[in-house]
């Protein structure tokens, strides 16, 4: 029945977003991009894609930052176009997408202020999708309560903050905890919201969000090894959705080393595959015992790949909002890829140029 009325209010936007998706770079575009000798070639190559001459009026020499900025600008303008045209409940759905970027911006600003960076520089680095009115005021906050009362109380993030108020001082660890508990609350809320939407949307989104939650859970666990984060605190940061919840989360809460993490996710074959692959990768790089840093990074890549895969799948189903979420994520990944390739070209590090995720 949902399919019957979907197009009335959202058909146009779905068409637009599918058009945008069709304009994403494909394998052969990436292949051509990696062949480029310098950034001018890069610009020439991109001009034949949907990016068109988005760099045409930039004076030479180009910098990687300009490319990333311009590409993000395109993403943002596309997002805003959809957002402005959206009706309820799609509009709320689109707003939810921006909350994740808001959280990132909040954390970035607070961390930056803590380390006494220049505010304007920080503001420039914020993701434009997560900008909100009162954001600049974040830089005056010195403790959590102030942060909440002066700035966040009127943002949509306010309800997510209630778990964080226990922490008093703003230091690196606490900010990290705030980030993760915000994220946990956000994911749970977003998930709950998606469940109120009719069937195809809720299915597709719960698949994607479940993975997102699991990824965070695993990351938190792995990154907490060797820090002063207690197991109790750690367990509180795990989102209560996802395929690992609850027993996997419980096992992870008790985990002390990477082996027990692997054991905890053993019953989900996809996740096990990540560890197998990343383990194999780090083996090639010189032994499994090389520490978690190396393993972490390739594990991250596996996560990204799976994420991209999930997002691509969401385009297979029609009459649902998942495509909007997925488009933003895919486009973001594309911008990351472009930046990576451009960076590799600029720094002449051709050997790693193929580490993009398409």
């Amino acid at each position: 029945m949902e399919a019957l009325a979907f197009n009335v209010s959202n058909g146009f936007l779905e068409g637009i977003v599918r058009g945008y998706k069709g304009a994403l770079l494909n394998q052969s575009n990436y292949h051509n991009l990696t062949q480029c000798e310098n950034l001018e070639d890069f610009r020439l190559q991109l001009s034949s894609t949907d990016y068109g001459n988005f760099l045409a009026n930039e004076p030479l020499p180009l910098s990687t930052a300009t490319i990333a900025d311009k590409a993000t600008e395109k993403l943002v303008s596309e997002f805003n176009f959809i957002r402005t045209n959206a009706t309820e409940p799609l509009a709320t759905f689109m707003d939810y997408i921006t909350y994740a970027y808001m959280i990132d911006n909040v954390v970035l600003l607070t961390l930056g202020t803590l380390h006494e960076r220049d505010t304007h520089e920080l503001l420039d680095r914020c993701h434009p999708l997560g900008v909100f009115d009162t954001m600049p005021a974040l830089c005056v906050a010195t403790n959590v309560e102030e942060l909440y009362h002066s700035v966040l109380v009127e943002t949509p993030l306010a309800p997510y903050f209630k778990d964080c108020l226990s922490a008093q001082d703003l230091d690196d660890l606490n900010i990290e905890i705030i980030r993760n508990s915000l994220y946990k609350a956000y994911l749970e809320d977003f998930h709950k919201f998606c469940q109120t939407l009719p069937a195809p949307t809720s299915e597709v989104m719960s698949r994607i969000l479940a993975f997102e939650a699991d990824r965070r859970t695993l990351n938190i666990t792995i990154n907490s090894f060797g820090t002063e984060l207690s197991k109790d605190q750690r367990a509180r940061l795990f989102p209560t959705i996802g395929r690992l919840y609850p027993e996997g989360n419980n096992a992870l809460a008790r985990a002390e080393d990477i082996e027990s993490v692997v054991a905890a996710v053993d019953h989900i074959s996809e996740y096990r595959a990540f560890f197998d692959k990343s383990g194999a990768a780090s083996n090639q790089n010189g032994g499994a015992a090389n520490g978690t840093g190396d393993e972490g990074s390739s594990l991250e890549d596996e996560f990204f790949k799976h994420d991209v895969e999930l997002n691509k799948h969401s385009f297979l189903q029609q009459f649902q909002f998942g495509v909007f979420y997925s488009f933003v994520k895919l486009k973001e990944q594309e911008v990351r890829n472009l930046t990576w390739i451009a960076e590799c070209i600029a720094q002449d590090a051709k050997d790693r140029i193929n580490d993009y995720i398409a």
Binding site: N32, Q35, C36, E37, E40, D41, L44, Q45, S48, N53, A56, N57, P59, L60, T119, H120, L123, D133, T134, P136, A137, C139, V140, E146, H149, S150, V151, V153, E154
Partner: protein, 843 residues
């Protein structure tokens, strides 16, 4: 092989040529070819990605130069008062070819670079100064506005005090500021005094700013703000921003620090001012003197900038044109295959066969301009590739050809309806737009556009007028044919024109219903004017127009089917004439051909003297199918009618299986013959389609190069052919019926048109004519009603109805006519040329 005359009905004969160009003449050769505009260069390196091609670095430099030019143009255009850019025709041309061209381009590049540097220097100082000026302005408005606050505070300090006391007892009192009068700004010299922060902020951010401050300081502030009336203009982007002045009183260094931090991160600019009135006055004076100084300097800089830009503007168009030409040339050179030895470039190109000599001459000219003695060598290739479709058009045939191409680009050397449409299109249009007066208006429009052709073609027209201008000959012909049809239907803005004597006479004593009596004469041309106003006039004209529409429709379709024949002959499918063309013609004519014969017979018979009554032709036609072999004796038209009709029906039915199975059968036999002789496709795929004649041609071309790539071999698939033929048959048989009905629009639109103009006449001007109320009032009434009538005639009857008739005429050509013969699998010929689209300047 090559004919000197343009081929009227088919596309130009094309040749594939190979041109060996010595690298030193390459540039002038390509630009010469582009001037000629009759060559389509093929991409010989499709596998090489764009940035690996040999001339890409050069192109990149040109792109950079083009960017600079765009930058200059943008700045010139944003100057106020505006600076005129002289058009291309008014300035000396840039040497784009010849031995010195290369140098000229390099010089140009250098020059542009210099200009850019100079400009950016000027702009930078300009920007800096205007920024400073903006700051000064802001400061002066801060000073002015805050003066207001302070004054207010002095007058109303008691009030303010009360309000502060209500809120928070620990608040410092504002009156101190007034009493002491020497409050330091924000230097924090004295811990006791009330301190404040003042500055400017964008108006849109004001509410947020206020809210944040309120929350951060928990209400421990007194804030006041005022709007600055004049907007601030950003020097580089020209954007206007409106700002507010604010002043915030708060207490304590920490709070002030916070305020400052928030204001800065919100994008506000802070200005230090003094709370004492004298000092503020001093500061204001100082600021205004500095403002004056800055203004002067700014003015000077602006002058320099203007001079610099006007220098650029002089040649801008020439440079732009030159850069675009150069880009086109190098883009084309990237398509050529570049020899390893770097001595020659090889181009493969399509060109019309009869332009070969022209191209040869052009190559020689290019050699001369390049100043070398090695000419480019042109040789013709034989090929199996399908050449692109190119129609040589002139200004009359161009719009018609464009209209037909919009349906589909005709296959190479296929008969195209373009030239034919020059007559058929306005004719069908005229039948629908049938009104002498309205046709005359259209004719005038077309004639005016043609009369001012030279003037108009130089101007840049807007979309509407441009389209009309493009189809000016179309309009002229449409007008002529509409007038013709108008005479035929005797329609002049819904009135009849009596040129000759009418064949009918009205009785003298007119009471009740009267019947006109024939005088025995026949009106020489068109409809008798006596019909106008008769009670049964609509009945009569409808019957006439409807029948005429069918007659013309069937003839038009027959013509379309006949156009297959030259196609079949040209593409060596003689068999199709017997199994497609003949069955189709028989099918159409045994049903609808018979119908039009009956129509004419019915017209020609004097039914008042005939023994039988007139038959209803529609019922008769239906009767042929539903009850074959029976004819109502009361309306029988001729003896043996039943037999003839059955025979025709049988012929029509017999045509269907012939059309359906004939072609597949012959193709199958041909295939069997080829296979029987032992020929097989080398790849294991059977290759049996009849190309044997072409293959033989190839052999006598010994010694000539043969470009054979792209000659695709289709596997022989009987099922495919069969399915295709089934679709074709169904489409044709059903199409005959629906298309014939479709031609009824010739009647329907004509009816609508005449009725509409009739209504318009009676509703407006006739009312005025019949009005009785004194000569003056009636004159005024007529005057206004005439204006209204004319305006509505032009807009509704000529523009709207004209557009409607146009669309229907297009449809009749595309669907009913073209579907009978056109294959339309061609590729349009896109010659290399310097004629640029105007709108790419916007990109």
């Amino acid at each position: 092989m090559s004919s000197e005359y343009p081929s009227f009905f088919t596309s130009e004969e094309m040749s594939l040529v190979q041109i060996y160009i010595p690298s030193e003449t390459a540039h002038s050769t390509i630009s010469e070819l582009a001037e000629l505009g009759v060559v389509q260069i093929k991409d010989l390196n499709p596998s090489v990605s764009s940035f690996q091609r040999p001339f890409t670095p050069r192109l990149r430099r040109l792109a950079e130069a083009a960017r600079r030019l765009r930058l200059f143009e943008g700045q010139i255009k944003s100057l106020s008062p505006p600076l005129g850019i002289p058009p291309l025709s008014a300035i000396p041309p840039f040497p784009t070819v010849g031995p010195r061209a290369q140098n000229a381009y390099d010089e140009l590049e250098e020059r542009l670079k210099e200009h850019e540097k100079k400009l950016s220097d000027i702009n930078r100082s300009f920007e800096e100064l205007s920024k400073r000026r903006g700051e000064l302005e802001e400061k002066s408005s801060v000073l002015k506005e805050t003066a207001g606050f302070f004054n207010e505070a002095e007058h109303r300090h008691t009030e303010i005090r009360t309000s502060f006391d209500d809120g928070d007892g620990t608040q410092p009192l504002l009156e101190h500021a007034a009493e002491y009068g020497t409050l330091p700004g924000d230097s924090g010299l004295s811990g006791f005094d009330l301190e404040f922060v003042s500055g400017t902020i964008e108006r849109t951010r004001m509410p947020t700013f206020e809210r944040i401050l309120w929350r951060i300081l928990r209400g421990n502030l007194y804030m006041n703000y005022a709007e600055i009336e004049e907007p601030f203009v950003d020097a580089t982007s020209g954007k206007e921003t409106v700002k507010d002045v604010f002043i915030i009183f708060a207490h304590g260094a920490e709070l002030l620090g916070k305020i400052r931090k928030v204001s800065e991160s919100m994008g506000a600019t802070l200005y230090t001012i003094d709370s004492s009135q004298d000092k503020r006055a001093d500061a204001l004076r100082e600021v205004s003197t500095r403002l004056e100084d800055t203004d002067q300097v700014l003015n000077n800089i602006n002058q320099t900038r203007r001079v610099e830009l006007s220098k650029i503007a002089e040649n801008l168009e020439a440079w732009k044109d030159a850069i675009r030409r150069e880009e086109e040339v190098y883009k084309t050179m990237n398509l050529l295959s570049y020899d390893q030895g770097r001595k020659t470039l090889v181009a493969e190109a399509w060109c019309p066969t009869r332009d070969l000599t022209n191209i040869q001459l052009g190559l020689r000219r290019a050699m001369e301009t390049a100043g070398t003695s090695v000419p480019a060598i042109l040789s013709e290739l034989r090929t199996h590739q399908t050449p692109p479709t190119y129609f040589q058009t002139n200004k009359v045939t161009e719009p018609f050809q464009a209209m037909m191409d919009a349906y589909g680009i005709p296959t190479y050397q296929e008969i195209s309806a373009g030239t034919i449409a020059v007559v058929t299109f306005p004719f069908l249009y005229g039948l629908m737009f049938s009104d002498t007066f309205h046709g005359f208006l259209v004719l005038l429009t077309g004639a005016a556009l043609i009369f001012y052709e030279k003037k108009l073609s130089q101007k840049k027209l807007d979309e509407m007028l441009g389209m009309l201008f493009f189809g000016r000959y179309n309009l002229l012909l449409m007008g002529i044919f509409s007038m013709y049809a108008g005479f035929m239907y005797n329609d002049f803005a819904s009135k009849s024109v009596t040129i000759w004597q009418s064949g009918w006479e009205w009785p003298e004593d007119a009471n009740g219903t009267v019947a006109a009596e024939s005088t025995g004469k026949v009106y020489p041309f068109g409809l008798d004017p006596a019909w106008n106003g008769a009670v049964n006039s609509l009945q009569f004209t409808n019957s006439l127009k409807m029948k005429l529409a069918i007659v013309i429709g069937v003839l038009h379709m027959t013509f379309g089917i006949c156009l297959q024949v030259p196609n079949h002959i040209r593409f060596k499918q003689r068999i199709s004439i017997y199994v497609e063309f003949i069955p189709q013609i028989l099918f159409l004519w045994s049903i609808f051909g018979y119908l039009i014969v009956l129509i004419i017979a019915k017209w020609a018979t004097d039914w008042s003297k005939s023994a039988t009554g007139p038959p209803g032709l529609l019922n008769l036609l239906i009767g042929i199918f539903l009850s074959p072999g029976t004819v109502d004796p009361a309306t029988q038209m001729y003896p043996g009618q039943a037999f003839v009709q059955v025979t025709l029906l049988l012929i029509a039915v017999a045509c269907v299986p012939v059309h359906l199975l004939g072609k597949p059968y012959f193709l199958y036999r041909e295939h069997q013959r080829v296979v029987g002789q032992g020929y097989r496709g080398l790849t294991g795929q059977e290759n049996g389609h009849p190309t044997s004649d072409v293959d033989e041609d190839e052999e006598d071309g010994v010694g000539q190069a043969v470009a054979d790539e792209g000659h695709e071999e289709h596997p022989w698939d009987f099922a495919d052919i069969m399915v295709h033929q089934v679709i074709h048959t169904i489409e044709f048989c059903l199409g005959c019926i629906s298309n014939t009905a479709s031609y009824l629009r010739l009647w329907a639109l004509s009816l609508a048109h005449s009725q509409l103009s009739d209504v318009l006449w009676t509703m407006t001007i006739e009312k005025a004519f019949l009005f009785e109320g004194g000569i003056v009032v009636q004159s005024v009434f007529i005057f206004f009603m005439f204006a209204m009538w004319l305006a509505l005639t032009v807009f509704i009857l000529c523009c709207m109805e004209g557009l409607g008739s146009f669309l229907h005429a297009v449809r009749l050509h595309w669907v009913e006519f073209n579907s009978k013969f056109a294959m339309c699998t061609g590729i349009a010929f896109q010659p290399l040329s310097f004629a640029f689209e105007d709108d790419d300047a916007d990109a």
